[in-house]
């Protein structure tokens, strides 16, 4: 039977609870957001005793469904003050699902100034005091835990940035190669740090596994689903070959690649940091072009990037990180960006927030645009070392903007705007403005339809159709984020008619239920409304669903595009 594991850090006690009927049909984001909305007072301090950190595998995690190994983490975000869900690959989701853990809820704050770890196994969850690994960086934590508990142990960990409760801190998840994937956005690592939990280890020996109600139906649907993923040019060919970084060149061509802290829409050095160049470099140096973030991933958009001597430098090297430290910081040295990616993994900080932050820090004059060596030093010594400057920078783009009086600060609800200029790709601007998460491209990835010709085409430079596009994508994404599926299944789902019904068939076969497409859409709407309700309770209004002022006063080259949506037009988003 599935269960809820609950840990109270105030009393250092744990409990195993049955799954309430209302939560039985939920997983992933749908479940973390439902639990946070039900149990966390929206006005609470995100780093205080009333916030809760919730982990939940998706509805299909732990099954043989392709790409179903994503783990959702939820809480009130210390970065945005909104509700937050951030999902990641790695091995933890499938281990938790096989153990029958529907959700792990961590509440309260320890009374003593001590650090702890949690251990999840077939008997439940336990709390231990931890001394050895406090202050250690993430790769050292993984290495030590594999030695201590065995190679197969699943790990969720925070680095020094999370220990110091900086609001850009992430939670790292061990991947199948003992490297890291991240619950990156929204500072959830600081919430884990506030609860003084350095790491959570998972042992799935003796796990009961996931029971499938109708195995034959599941098998057929899983095959159809996997075929759709492999047949679509994006998930079957583009992503495995070039990674997400294939986007540098296409956004650059479209004039939507934010450059020099969102001053321009094109970067002269784009080709040097592009997916095409990265592919050539990886191949020449004996790295891996294809790599999955979790077992069962058949898209394999990740990669292993080596240095010029053929030594491992980083993996999971994503477009948003490369765009941010590249174009937005005017750095065209892909090796230095890879070094930064590795340091960010190691110290445990969100690579999107940090990349956006460096653009603002360069504008503030803390370092020069293009100075990759100083960027690396600051990451390692100042932020990783927890100096006063490091803590301002580790608070993210909004933090450094406030500290240094910068007006061009690309954030919504204090979360850094990623990788796509909302003036020249207007659909994503609606997503940034209205997402319950703060600026988050994955919440409603309009780039698919504005730029990539997936799911039709809506002109990125015009206002027409953008609100509806973003709304439909945000609803669908909230539902997909509940399944444990990687968001990239959306590319085939938008274009191949058999894909989404096969996904729904797998859910039905797994649980012995009969959801329809409409039910799934309604689930997505429900999740968005639950999240929106939490944010309203926390004090947010429609006036917070706005982009920073500079987007309305500064045009962006080459199309001289400007953000020109009225308040009424934006607010129409919530009319569903």
């Amino acid at each position: 039977m599935d269960k809820i594991l609950r840990v109270n850090m105030s009393t250092l006690s744990t409990a195993i609870e049955p799954v309430p009927a209302a939560w039985a049909g939920l997983g992933g984001r749908g479940l973390t957001s439902t639990i946070v909305a039900a149990e966390v007072p929206p006005t609470c301090h995100a780093l205080g005793t009333f916030n809760k950190l919730v982990f939940a595998p998706g509805l299909l995690s732990g099954t043989a469904a392709a790409n179903s190994g994503r783990l959702s983490a939820g809480a009130k975000s210390p970065l945005t003050g909104t509700i937050k869900e951030s999902n990641a690959g790695g091995t933890a989701a499938q281990m938790l699902a096989r153990l029958g853990v529907k959700a792990l809820i961590i509440e309260g704050l320890p009374k003593e100034d001590k650090w702890y770890s949690l251990h999840v196994n077939k008997d439940g969850v336990s709390v231990q005091e931890e001394t050895e690994l406090i202050g250690k960086r993430n790769f050292a934590v993984i290495e030590a835990l594999e030695a201590r508990l065995g190679k197969k142990t699943g790990v969720l960990t925070i680095g020094p940035v999370g220990e110091l409760k900086m609001t850009a801190a992430n939670i790292s998840v061990k991947d199948p190669d003992s490297k890291l994937r991240s619950h990156g956005r929204g500072g959830l690592g600081a919430v884990m740090g506030s609860k003084k939990i350095k790491f959570i280890s998972i042992d799935d020996q003796g796990a009961p596994g996931v029971k499938i109600a109708d195995p034959e139906k599941f098998k057929v649907a899983a095959r159809t689903f996997a075929k759709a993923l492999l047949d679509h040019p994006v998930s079957g060919e583009g992503l495995p070959t070039y990674g997400t970084n294939v986007l540098v060149n296409i956004l650059n061509e479209a004039g939507g690649l934010p450059t020099r802290n969102f001053t321009y829409g094109r970067f002269d050095g784009a080709d040097k940091i592009s997916g095409e160049t990265m592919n050539e470099t990886i191949t020449a140096r004996g790295g891996k072009v294809r790599h999955g973030c979790h077992a069962g991933c058949i898209i394999q958009c990740s990669q292993v990037y080596n240095d010029k001597d053929g030594k491992y430098l980083t993996s999971g090297f994503e477009y948003e990180t490369i765009w941010g430290l590249g174009a937005d910081c005017c750095i065209d040295n892909l090796d230095d960006i890879a070094r930064a990616d590795s340091i960010m993994d190691d110290i445990g900080i969100d690579s999107i927030e940090t990349a956006v932050m460096f653009g603002v820090a360069m504008e503030a004059g803390i370092l020069n645009f293009g100075d990759s060596k100083e960027m690396l030093r600051i990451l390692n010594d100042e932020i990783g070392g927890g100096t006063p400057l490091g803590r301002i920078l580790g608070g993210g783009a909004g933090s450094v903007g406030r500290a240094y009086g910068v007006t061009r600060v690309p954030v919504v609800k204090n979360q850094g705007i990623p990788a796509y200029d909302p003036r020249s790709v207007k659909g994503i601007g609606i997503t940034y403005a209205t997402s319950t998460m703060g600026a988050d491209h994955t919440a409603g990835y309009s780039i698919a339809t504005n730029i990539l010709n997936v799911g039709g085409y809506v002109d990125p430079l015009k206002k027409d159709g953008q609100v509806e596009l973003s709304r439909n994508l945000q609803i669908a994404t909230a539902a997909v984020d509940s399944t444990g599926m990687c968001i990239f299944i959306a590319f085939p789902a938008l274009d191949i008619p058999e894909c989404l019904p096969a996904l729904i068939d797998m859910i039905n076969a797994r649980f012995g239920i009969s959801l329809t497409g409409d039910d799934v859409t309604n689930l997505g709407k429900h999740i968005l409304k639950v999240e929106h309700g939490f944010n309203i309770g926390a004090g947010f209004t429609n006036k917070d669903d706005r982009l920073p002022e500079f987007f309305t006063t500064e045009t962006v080259a080459p199309h001289n595009a400007i953000w020109d949506f009225s308040d009424i037009e934006i607010d129409e988003f919530w009319n569903f």
Partner: protein
């Protein structure tokens, strides 16, 4: 007329990244696509001067034509 042609992702294999080429006045995108040995079905995105365009779009002197297979990320 002079057209700058830019190719991306797998379109570069065995071809080029960027090239300035001479075409007859009135040439459309399709003509150039086919002349490059690409098929209409392979084309994901066409941009002319950074704006999305259709295969039958007629190019002007000095235009930049960018051709992509279907790609994605995020």
């Amino acid at each position: 007329m002079r057209i700058t042609v830019k190719l991306f992702a797998s379109f570069r294999l065995g071809r080029f990244k960027f090239a300035e080429q001479e075409y007859q006045v009135g040439t459309d995108c399709r003509t150039i696509v086919l002349a490059l040995g690409l098929t209409e079905a392979e084309i994901g995105v066409i941009m002319v001067n950074g704006r999305h365009a259709a295969l039958d779009y007629v190019l002007q002197e000095g235009d930049t034509l960018s051709l992509f297979p279907l790609v994605g990320g995020g």
